[in-house]
Each structure stands twice: as structure tokens, then as C-alpha cells.
């Protein structure tokens, strides 16, 4: 399940908007300008089922997202969707991995407290006996220069 964000959870000054998620549902989100830097040396790892519902998270995921394990497990991965991310990026992701490909890109993720963090994400299908059974997403610390490039590209794509 995915719920609207709660103003009480948000830190600092924030804006509000409603996101129309890929899975056909809407979510009210609150977001601030507070960035949490990706920690050196760590990886965020999660597994989703074929519908994008989170089935496994590691400790770094919990720490960086601000959600508890219980809140993340069973939620769609779009619980992290930030309004600055163009829908196009996620369509491309699903179009790629659902046919067995690997997707890689720079993603701005939304934290439970309304802040954000940038990642370099790699998503791969987990193929067993020739069939896609789930997806693994691994996020690492991104290059700052690449993030600056993406901020500009995503701004233009979102405005288009």
C-alpha cells in the first residue's frame, strides 16, 4: 500500500503536489530542499516483485529513505518518487527491465521527511529458469557532475 505523505513527518519548509504514479494511483507528497548526502562506501539494495512491490530492503535503504522496514515492505517502489523526476525516466526503466534488460540512471529520491537524496541506480531483472521472477535495484553514490547534468535534463523534460 502507499499513502499520502503527512505534514507532521516533514522537516523544514516544504511544498506540496500530487503525483500520478505509474501504477495508476495518486499520492499527495510534501517535499523540501534538504538533501541527505549518499554515504561513502554503501549501497542501497531492494528487491521488488514483478509489479514493483518491495519485498526486500537492506539497512542502508531504511536509513536513507527514512521509512521503517515495515513501511517499505509491501509498498510500491514509487514510494520514493520525487516530483522533480520526469515520468519518462520510470517508463523507460519499466520498458527496459520488463523485457529482460538492465536499466541504469541517476535518480532523485524522496525521503519520508520530505528531503531528498540522489543515487546512481541500476535495476536488473532476476531471471530464474528463463523467467523474470523479480527485480533487484542497487543504488550507489553518484558522481556530482552527473547529478548536476541530470538536474538540468530532468527540469527540461518535466517542463516539456
Amino acid at each position: 500500500m502507499i499513502y499520502d505523505m503527512k505534514p507532521d513527518d516533514i522537516a523544514g519548509i516544504y511544498q506540496a503536489t500530487t503525483l500520478h504514479l505509474f501504477c495508476g494511483i495518486s499520492r499527495r507528497v510534501f517535499y523540501s530542499d534538504i538533501e541527505t548526502p549518499f554515504p561513502d562506501g554503501k549501497l542501497i539494495v531492494s528487491i521488488t516483485d514483478r509489479e514493483g512491490i518491495i519485498t526486500h530492503v537492506n539497512k542502508a535503504f531504511v536509513e536513507m529513505s527514512g521509512y521503517t522496514d515495515e513501511e517499505l515492505l509491501g509498498s510500491p517502489h514509487s514510494i520514493l518518487r520525487h516530483p522533480d523526476m520526469p515520468a519518462f525516466a520510470f517508463k523507460e526503466l519499466w520498458d527496459t527491465v520488463s523485457v529482460g534488460g538492465r536499466w541504469q540512471g541517476y535518480v532523485k529520491n524522496l525521503r519520508k521527511d520530505g528531503g531528498y537524496y540522489w543515487v546512481k541506480a541500476t535495476v536488473i531483472p532476476n531471471i530464474r529458469d528463463g523467467k523474470i521472477v523479480s527485480y533487484t535495484s542497487i543504488r550507489r553514490k553518484p558522481s556530482r557532475a552527473k547529478v548536476e547534468e541530470c538536474i538540468e535534463i530532468y527540469r527540461r523534460l518535466s517542463a516539456a
Partner: protein, 248 residues
């Protein structure tokens, strides 16, 4: 039949006698003959693998993934509580204290360990460094990597964290860790080749029970381990997925 047992060349030299102790223990428990071969380099090990000379192997994550995926090896066990991590290290006298301070042209001392190389390169990525804009200084061993740093012939070096941590305090006092990986998903693994796959379950049972008696615990201690835990096909498939994702 005499089976060939190999140990990944990146183990700490402190545990060399321990692997012979383990091999003796294993032969007694299984009533099988194993010949322990310690290869001096990844290249020598690779040549033995290509000649299909290895039946049982304590393999690095990279080798385990490759051998399971491409050569029909099967995973058996891994050491409990151990994962393969890398550290990027500089001389203590180097004014740079974090990865972000490194720039294009940095000289990086590396060994042939593919796991450590992969993890090290991931950690350099945040500083916009890649194989295209750094210089590699190839070394045979981690001791040589440390020497390159101390002689200022390299700016940073990649080490298996376990190997770096095993250095003496004197050497470590002349070096400093810029970053340490905390990946926790990649690990060495004991794997069996085609000649031994039929004995996988029996081997696994014996090894999982190793910590339950005094001689077994003593042999484990000589390797720096407390016990083995099983690695099933799905565990290995997940590690291979992770490594595939990280390799890009």
C-alpha cells in the same frame, strides 16, 4: 580419487597454515583425499581452472559467480559473518583525506583481485574517476600496493579490507583509509566442481556441523572463522545478480 582443492590467492598469509589444518580435517571427516594447492596469483589459479584441475575451491565472489554461472560449479558454504569489502588507502602523508579530493590522473595501485577492483572503482565513481582518467599501477600483492603508497609511487591503493586490516599497526600508522565499502552482499564461497557436485549435500552437512565439536572449532579458528553457513542456489543467484548490476 584425489580431488584438487584450491584457495583463492587473496587470503591473508596469516591463515596459510590454517588452510592446511582445514584440509587435513576435511579429509578425515569425508574419508576422501584432497590435495590443497595454493596458487600464488589469480592468473595461476585461472590457468588451473581452464585446465579443469580444481574440484573444490574457496573462491572469491567474482570467481564463484563466474564458475557457478559458466562452469557448472555449485555453492556449498560461506564463512559466517564475513563479506568481501574493499578499502581505498593513501599514505598518511597525503594531504587528501576523502575520495572527493582525488582528481583525474590519480595513480591507483591495484592487484589482480577482480572483486576489490570492482568495489574500488565504484567508490571512485563519486569523484568522477573511471578507468579512462586514472593511471593504474599493477602490483602482485597487497604488500606491494602498500609499498607503492609509502614510496609515493601511487596516490591511492585498493585493498581487500580483510588483508589491509591484517597489516601490522606499524604499517597502518603510515597509511590512512579514505573510504571503506559496506556492501555486505559479496562474499567468498566454498564451491564444488563437476567431479564433486554429487557430494555437495554431504559436504555441506559435514561443514555445517564443523563448529559442533572441539577439533572442528579449532580448525575453523585457524582460518579466522567461527562457523560455516550454507549457500543455496538462490543465495548464489542473488549474489550473481548483484555482481552483474555492480559490474556496469
Amino acid at each position: 580419487m584425489l580431488y584438487q582443492f584450491a584457495v583463492s590467492p587473496d587470503f591473508s598469509p596469516n591463515f596459510l597454515p590454517g588452510w592446511y589444518v582445514f584440509n587435513t580435517w576435511l579429509q578425515k571427516q569425508t574419508k576422501q583425499n584432497f590435495h590443497l594447492e595454493i596458487y600464488q596469483s589469480f592468473q595461476a589459479q585461472q590457468e588451473a581452472l581452464s585446465r579443469q584441475e580444481i574440484d573444490l575451491m574457496y573462491a572469491s565472489a567474482f570467481d564463484a559467480a563466474m564458475l557457478v554461472r559458466e562452469n557448472g560449479f555449485l555453492p556449498v558454504v560461506k564463512a559466517e559473518g564475513f563479506s568481501d569489502e574493499a578499502v581505498i588507502v593513501a599514505s598518511a602523508e597525503n594531504p587528501i583525506n576523502e575520495i572527493i579530493g582525488l582528481s583525474a590522473g590519480t595513480k591507483v595501485a591495484i592487484t589482480a583481485n577482480p572483486d576489490v577492483y570492482m568495489m574500488g572503482m565504484i567508490m571512485l565513481e563519486s569523484a568522477d574517476l573511471s578507468a579512462n582518467n586514472i593511471q593504474f599501477v599493477n602490483c602482485d600483492t597487497y604488500v606491494t600496493v602498500a609499498k607503492q603508497l609509502l614510496r609515493a609511487q601511487a596516490d591511492v591503493g585498493f585493498f581487500l579490507a580483510e588483508a589491509y586490516d591484517a597489516f601490522s599497526d606499524t604499517i597502518k600508522s603510515k597509511l590512512k583509509v579514505l573510504v571503506r565499502s559496506q556492501i555486505s552482499l559479496i562474499h567468498h564461497c566454498l564451491i564444488v566442481g563437476s567431479n564433486l557436485t554429487h557430494q555437495r549435500a554431504e559436504l555441506q552437512k559435514i561443514l555445517l556441523g564443523m563448529a559442533q565439536n572441539e577439533k572442528g572449532r579449532s580448525a575453523l579458528k585457524s582460518l579466522g572463522f567461527s562457523s560455516w553457513v550454507s549457500v543455496d542456489d538462490e543465495n548464489m543467484a542473488f549474489m550473481i545478480d548483484v555482481m552483474n548490476a555492480l559490474a556496469s
